[in-house]
C-alpha cells in the first residue's frame, strides 16, 4: 500500500511501539455528541449550522427517533447561502428567531459549527455574540465546533463543555471546591455525589449541569476531576480560569472507581478512614459482581478499533479486572497527560495505535482473529459475517458504565455477545 504514508509528526522517544496511521478514519464527527448532550442539559438546544449530511448523520446516529421534536436541529445551508445571494448571518438570524419562537422553553442555544460552515469560514462566534445580545437575558447563545475536520466523535462534547467554561462565574468562596467534568448518566452522577459527601468532600458540582441556569462557579480554589478521557480542550480552558486538574485514572471498574475517587480524596485531604468507610463496601460489591464475568472472560483476546477515546481506560479495566488480553488498543487520539495514570496501569506491553487506516487495521483484525472486536456500527455486521464477535462501541457511550454499581453492567456489555453465541444453535 503506497498511499497512507504522509509524513506524521515524529512521536517522542518514549513509545516506539505505538502504531500511527493515516488513512480512512471510520469514526463519527463531533456533531454526534449532540445525541446525548441535548438530553443532559435539559433547557439547551443544539442548532447545527451545516448541510443535509449533518442532519442525516444526527438522525442516523440517533438510531431511533424517540422525540417528535428533539432539542436539536440543523440549519441546512443551501446553494443561495453559499453563492452569496443570501447573507448567511441574516439567514441564521431568521432560523434562530423561528426556532426560539417555537421553543420558548429553551434557555441556552448552541450554534454548532460543521465541516461546511468551517470551510466557508462562517464566523459562528460573532453570530453567537450578536444573537446573545439580542436574546439576553432570556436565552444565552454560545457556539462550538463539532465538525469532522476539527473533531472526532466525543471531542464534540469536549468543545461544547469548553464553550461553557467562559460562562462559569468566578468562584468566590475560600474553601476548595471539586468540579467533576464530563457528561455522566444522571444515576451515576447521583451516586458519585453521595460518595463524595461520605468521603467528606462537601462542595461538589458537575459540568455539564442538568440545567443551563445551574452552571457551577470556577476559580483558583477549584480542583477538577475528569470523568471522561476526551476532555483536553475543556481541561485547558478550566486551567486558564485557575482551576487545577487532579490526575487520576477514569472511574471504570471497581479499581478505576476507587482510584478516581481516591485521587479526589487525597487532593482534598480527606480522612483516609472516611474514604475507606465510604468506598469499601461498594468496591467489594462491585468486585463480587464482576467475579462471574471474570470467570467467563479471562484469557479472551480483545481488539479496539478507534472510536470514543475511552479505549485505553476500557482496555485497562477489562485486562486488570476481567483478565482479558488486549491485542491492539486503537484510539483516535492519545491524550498522553490525561491518560498517564491509565497507561501506567495498562502496562507497556500492550500494542497501542493512534489515528487510523481502517483497511490496514481490518487486515490486522482478520489476521489476529480476536475473541471480541470493539468497533463502530459501520464495521460490526461485516465482521460478524466473517465469523468474528464484535461489541458496538457506541453502546459504551450510551450506557451508564462508570462507578462501582455499573462495573458489572460494563462487563455485561462485553459478555453479552459471548452469551448470545453460546445460546444460538442456528
Amino acid at each position: 500500500m503506497s498511499v497512507h504514508t504522509l509524513p506524521l509528526p515524529k512521536a517522542g522517544c518514549a513509545e516506539p511501539d505505538i502504531i500511527r496511521e493515516r488513512g480512512q478514519h471510520e469514526v463519527f464527527c463531533g456533531l454526534t455528541g449532540i445525541v446525548w448532550l441535548h438530553r443532559k442539559i435539559q433547557d439547551a438546544f443544539f442548532l447545527v449550522v451545516g448541510s443535509r449530511t449533518c442532519a442525516h448523520l444526527l438522525q442516523s446516529a440517533a438510531g431511533v427517533m424517540i422525540f417528535a421534536e428533539p432539542r436539536f436541529g440543523t440549519a441546512v445551508m443551501e446553494e443561495r447561502d453559499l453563492a452569496g445571494m443570501a447573507d448567511a448571518n441574516e439567514e441564521l438570524d431568521k432560523v434562530v428567531a423561528r426556532l426560539l419562537d417555537r421553543r420558548p422553553d429553551i434557555k441556552m442555544l448552541f450554534l454548532v459549527g460543521s465541516c461546511p460552515s468551517e470551510v466557508i469560514k462562517l464566523d459562528l462566534s460573532r453570530a453567537a455574540e450578536r444573537l446573545s445580545r439580542h436574546y439576553s437575558p432570556e436565552v444565552r447563545v454560545l457556539n462550538y465546533t463539532g465538525s469532522g475536520i476539527e473533531t472526532t466523535f466525543t471531542e464534540g462534547e469536549d468543545r461544547c463543555l469548553a464553550a461553557l467554561v467562559p460562562e462559569l462565574t468566578d468562584a468566590t468562596s475560600e474553601a476548595p471546591e471539586l468540579l467533576v467534568v464530563g457528561a455522566l448518566a444522571d444515576v451515576v452522577e447521583d451516586q458519585f455525589a453521595r460518595l463524595f459527601a461520605e468521603i467528606g468532600i462537601e462542595r461538589v458540582s458537575f459540568l455539564p449541569p442538568r440545567n443551563s441556569r445551574a452552571l457551577p462557579p470556577v476559580g483558583p480554589n477549584t480542583r477538577f476531576l475528569l470523568a471522561q478521557p476526551f476532555l483536553g480542550e475543556t481541561a485547558r480552558c478550566l486551567t486558564e480560569r485557575g482551576a487545577r486538574h487532579i490526575p487520576a485514572p477514569f472511574p471504570l471498574g471497581a479499581e478505576g472507581t476507587t482510584a478516581w475517587l481516591g485521587a479526589a480524596a487525597r487532593a482534598f485531604g480527606a480522612d483516609p478512614m472516611a474514604f475507606r468507610h465510604a468506598t469499601a463496601a461498594a468496591e467489594a460489591r462491585a468486585k463480587r459482581a464482576l467475579q462471574p464475568f471474570r470467570d467467563e472472560m479471562a484469557g479472551k483476546t480483545i481488539f479496539f478499533m478507534p472510536d470514543s477515546q475511552l479505549e485505553v481506560p476500557l482496555a485497562r479495566m477489562l485486562s486488570r479486572e476481567l483478565g482479558m488480553e488486549p491485542i491492539e488498543v486503537g484510539t483516535p487520539y492519545l491524550h498522553r497527560a490525561h491518560l498517564a495514570e491509565e497507561l501506567k496501569l495498562l502496562g507497556s506491553d500492550v500494542q497501542l495505535s493512534e489515528g487510523q487506516d481502517v483497511e490496514r487495521q481490518l487486515d490486522r483484525v482478520r489476521a489476529a482473529r480476536p475473541d471480541v472486536t470493539v468497533c463502530g456500527l459501520g464495521l460490526a455486521n461485516p465482521l460478524e459475517a466473517d465469523g468474528l464477535t464484535t461489541k458496538w462501541s457506541i453502546e459504551l457511550i450510551f450506557t451508564p458504565i462508570q462507578g462501582y454499581d455499573q462495573a458489572s453492567d460494563l462487563a455485561g456489555l462485553f459478555a453479552r455477545p459471548f452469551d448470545r453465541k453460546t445460546r444460538l444453535r442456528v
Binding site: R52, D81, V95
Partner: protein
C-alpha cells in the same frame, strides 16, 4: 437556510452509495471529511448488509486543508484501486468535498487507472438522495453501456423469447429486493426473460449488456427514469410507465409488458392473488370509507392512494410527497380525489397536516409512523425512508399480486377490527374500553398520549374559529363516540354550529350535525 429536524432524504452522495452498494464490482471514492463514514451504518445496520459498502473516503481533516487535499484524493483513489481491483470506479465529493473544489474528476483522469472511472457531479446544496441515486445510475449506464455506431432498433424479438431489463432497484430501497423477485417471476410467467437487473445485483459487465434487451421495466422512476430515457433515446428501448403496486396496476403492468414484448393481451384476470376476494369478503365491510392519509416518495404515494381507494374502499383524506422532483404526479393524483397535495420535506408540516386531517390510518414513511404513534392513529409503512424493522426477514414485496397480498395484510393490521369496533361503539362506558387502550390484536399497552406539554409540536390550527361552548351533556355524549372518529365528530359539530351561529352546542346540536353530515 432551512431549519430541519428530521430529514426524509440524505444528501445526494448517499444516493450514489446506494447504487454503488447495489452493484457487485464498482468502487466509489468519495472526497469527504472525517465523519461522513457514518453513511456506512445505513447499509450495515439498517439494511443488515454483511459487507461494507464499496466506498473509500478520503476523510480529510483541518490540517490537510492547509496542505494538499488533492494529493490525498489521488493517493486514496490509487490505493483503493489497488486493494479492491474494481471493474469500474465512481469518484466524487460529499458536501464539504464539493466546497474545497479539488476536482476529483480531473484528478481521476490524471491517475490513468486501468478501469473505467466515472466522475459524479452531485450538487449537495441543491439536490438530495433520490436524485443522487438517479444521476449516478444514469452516469454509470452512459459510461458503461455506450457503444460505437449502434443504430437505434425498436424492441422486437426476432424468433426468440422477448427479453427485458429491470431498472431502478438499489441498496437501502424499500422492499426492492423482494419486488425484483416478484416482478421477475411475473415476467417469466408471461414468457418474458429478464436479462439484467440493475443496479441491484448488477456487475459493470451487466450494465454493458443493457442494450441487448428488447425493452426496460422501470420499477422505481425516481432512480431509474433518467437512465431509461437515455436507453430509449440511444437504443430505441421502450420502458414501462406503470408501477405494479396493487392489483389494478399489476394487471395494467402485465398488459403493458405484453404489448412491449409483442405478446397477445391476456384475457384471463383470475390469477390476481387474494386481495380482490379478501376485499369483497363481508367482514371487510367495516373498512368502507376509513379515512386514510398517504405520504411518501411520489411513486409509492400515488400507488398507495389508488390502492387505498380502489382496492380497500378507503377514503383518501390527504396525499403528499417529499420528492419535489416528482411533485406533479402527486398533485394530479390528489386533484383527482378533490384534495390539495402536500409537497414538503418538512416533517413538522406533515405532522400538522395529519393532525388536521384526522385520519384513521396513515400510510407513510418511518417519520409518519412516529407521527401516527404520537397521535394514536394506526400506521403502515409504504415508502422509504424506513428503519430496520421495515427490512423484514420474510418475503414481503410491495409489487405484483403477492405484493398486493402483503399490502392487504399490512394495511388492515393496524386498524380496529370489525366487530370490535362495534363493541367499542356500543359500550363506551365499559371500563376496559378506555381511549388509551390499544386495539386488542396489537397487544397490551397504552396509546402514546398526544403532544406532551413539554414538547409543543403542533402549531395552532390555521382556521380556528371562535370556540363553541359545549353543554355538559353534549360533551359527555361526544365521549361515547370512539376516539378514532371523535375528533372528526367534534370538528363537524363545531362547524355545523358555527355556520348556524349557535352559541352553545347541545345534545340536539350534536345529533343535528350528525344527521347533516351523514350521507
Amino acid at each position: 437556510m432551512q431549519l430541519t429536524v428530521w430529514t426524509y432524504e440524505g444528501p445526494p452522495h448517499v444516493g450514489a452509495m446506494r447504487v454503488a452498494t447495489a452493484m457487485t464490482d464498482v468502487h466509489y471514492v468519495l472526497h469527504a471529511p472525517q465523519g461522513d463514514t457514518y453513511a456506512d451504518l445505513l447499509f450495515t445496520m439498517i439494511e443488515r448488509r454483511e459487507k461494507r459498502p464499496p466506498v473509500t473516503y478520503t476523510t480529510f481533516k483541518a490540517r490537510d486543508l492547509g496542505s494538499d487535499t488533492a494529493a490525498l484524493f489521488k493517493s486514496t483513489l490509487e490505493s483503493a484501486h489497488e486493494r479492491f481491483k474494481p471493474a469500474a470506479m465512481l469518484v466524487g465529493a460529499s458536501c464539504t468535498g464539493e466546497l474545497i473544489q479539488d476536482d476529483p474528476a480531473g484528478l481521476a483522469k490524471a491517475a490513468n487507472l486501468p478501469c473505467p472511472v466515472i466522475p459524479l457531479e452531485l450538487p449537495s446544496y441543491q439536490r438530495k438522495e433520490n436524485w443522487g441515486a438517479g444521476e449516478t445510475f444514469y452516469q454509470i449506464v452512459r459510461h458503461l453501456a455506450a457503444r460505437e455506431g449502434v443504430e437505434p432498433v425498436a424492441g422486437k424479438p426476432q424468433g426468440r423469447v422477448p427479453r427485458c431489463n429491470i431498472l431502478g432497484a438499489t441498496a437501502l430501497g424499500f422492499r426492492h429486493r423482494d419486488d425484483v423477485m416478484e416482478i421477475t417471476k411475473l415476467l417469466k410467467e408471461n414468457g418474458i426473460e429478464v436479462a439484467v437487473v440493475a443496479p441491484l445485483g448488477a456487475s459493470a459487465a451487466d450494465i454493458a449488456r443493457l442494450p441487448d434487451a428488447d425493452f426496460n421495466v422501470l420499477l422505481y422512476p425516481e432512480i431509474g427514469e433518467q437512465a431509461a430515457r437515455w436507453l430509449k433515446r440511444t437504443y430505441g428501448q421502450d420502458y414501462t410507465t406503470t408501477v405494479p403496486i396493487g392489483v389494478g396496476a399489476t394487471r395494467e403492468f402485465v398488459a403493458e409488458v405484453r404489448r412491449l414484448a409483442g405478446l397477445d393481451a391476456l384475457p384471463d384476470r383470475s390469477d390476481a392473488g387474494r386481495l380482490p376476494w379478501f376485499s369483497r369478503s363481508v367482514d371487510s365491510t367495516y373498512l368502507t370509507g376509513k379515512r386514510v392519509f398517504v405520504f411518501g416518495d411520489a411513486t409509492h404515494a400515488v400507488a398507495a392512494a389508488r390502492v387505498a381507494t380502489e382496492e380497500f374502499g378507503f377514503e383518501l383524506v390527504g396525499l403528499g410527497t417529499y420528492s419535489r422532483e416528482q411533485a406533479r404526479a402527486v398533485r394530479e393524483a390528489a386533484q383527482a380525489h378533490g384534495l390539495t397535495a402536500l409537497i414538503t420535506d418538512d416533517y413538522l408540516d406533515v405532522e400538522q397536516a395529519i393532525a388536521e386531517a384526522e385520519p384513521e390510518l396513515v400510510l407513510g414513511t418511518q417519520m409518519e409512523r412516529h407521527i401516527a404513534k404520537r397521535l394514536g392513529i394506526g400506521c403502515a409503512v409504504i415508502s422509504a425512508p424506513v428503519h430496520v424493522q421495515d427490512y423484514p426477514a420474510r418475503y414481503s414485496p410491495q409489487m405484483g399480486f403477492e405484493g398486493a397480498n402483503v399490502l392487504w395484510d399490512s394495511w388492515v393490521h393496524p386498524l380496529v377490527m370489525g366487530l370490535e369496533e362495534h363493541l367499542l361503539g356500543m359500550f363506551r362506558e365499559d371500563f376496559e374500553f378506555s381511549d388509551t387502550a390499544k386495539p386488542s390484536h396489537l397487544g397490551p399497552g397504552q396509546r402514546v398520549s398526544e403532544a406532551p406539554a413539554a414538547e409543543p409540536a403542533l402549531r395552532p390550527l390555521a382556521e380556528e374559529g371562535p370556540i363553541r361552548i359545549w353543554s355538559a351533556d353534549a360533551e359527555a355524549e361526544l365521549k361515547k363516540i370512539p376516539f378514532f372518529v371523535r375528533g372528526k365528530a367534534r370538528k363537524n359539530t363545531e362547524r355545523f354550529a358555527a355556520e348556524r351561529g349557535l352559541a352553545e352546542i347541545t345534545l340536539e346540536t350534536l345529533y343535528d350535525a350528525k344527521a347533516h353530515f351523514a350521507r
